[in-house]
């Protein structure tokens, strides 16, 4: 069966520091991968998605970037964090265009 892993689970970082969040998927090949952000008490907002290695699409202008160095690895990064980058970051995957998104358990990021 397929599983998705995100780490770390929680992270506290000072303003201006770099960020790297990792997501890996097991049990499937060539998944579509997504990064979503969830503000407290709110729904999810799509940040980036990828349909293959090295292919990244950004949905909203922001202080973050994404990369996909391997088929089942998706990374969310920032060179300098802002206070507004605080939130719950969720990685998700799907296979093709007829299956639902499945989410990881997220990373709670607090920028201080």
């Amino acid at each position: 069966s397929q599983t998705i892993h995100q780490w770390p689970a929680t992270l506290v970082q000072p303003v201006g520091s770099p960020l790297s969040l990792e997501c890996t998927v097991e049990g499937t090949s060539n998944p579509n991968l997504y990064w979503y952000r969830q503000a407290a008490g709110r729904g999810l907002q799509l940040l980036f998605y990828s349909i293959g290695i090295g292919q990244i699409s950004s949905e909203v202008p922001q202080n973050l970037s994404a990369s996909r160095p391997q088929d089942r690895q998706f990374i969310l990064s920032s060179k300098k964090l802002l206070l507004s980058d605080s939130g719950f970051y969720l990685c998700a995957w799907t296979v093709g265009n007829n299956s639902p998104l499945h989410f990881g358990n997220g990373t709670r990021l607090t920028v201080t």
Partner: protein, 113 residues
């Protein structure tokens, strides 16, 4: 702009009763709808989905109803249990932008004994 929204922010349900969570959407181009359950500190968990060519779909203790005429989606949970306490999100998607889900704000379901 077009959006997905929920009617009630909090729903209190007695254990054993049926729950109904409602969702309104305004994007008539959406053709795929999903319900997720999110427990505190965890990622959303897929519950059930429905395509726009269907009116109803049933799963284990859950039923999703889609009324395209009034752009309304609902999730029914039969015999609600304490483990059903969570935030429930509806989300919509268009076939030409698969995976780019538009989420509602969520409904908190609280199951009371």
């Amino acid at each position: 702009g077009e959006s997905v929204g929920l009617h009630l922010p909090t729903l209190s349900v007695q254990e054993g009763d049926n729950s109904i969570i409602n969702c309104a959407y305004s994007n008539s181009a959406s053709d795929y709808f999903i319900w997720y359950k999110q427990e505190s500190g965890k990622g959303p968990q897929f519950i059930i989905d429905i395509r726009s060519n269907m009116d109803k779909r049933q799963g284990q203790r859950v039923t999703v109803l889609l009324n395209k005429t009034v752009k309304h989606l609902s999730l029914q949970i039969a015999a609600t249990q304490p483990g059903d306490s969570a935030v429930y999100f509806c989300a919509e998607n268009k076939a030409d932008s698969w995976g780019k889900l538009q989420f509602g704000a969520g409904t908190q379901v609280v199951v009371t004994p």
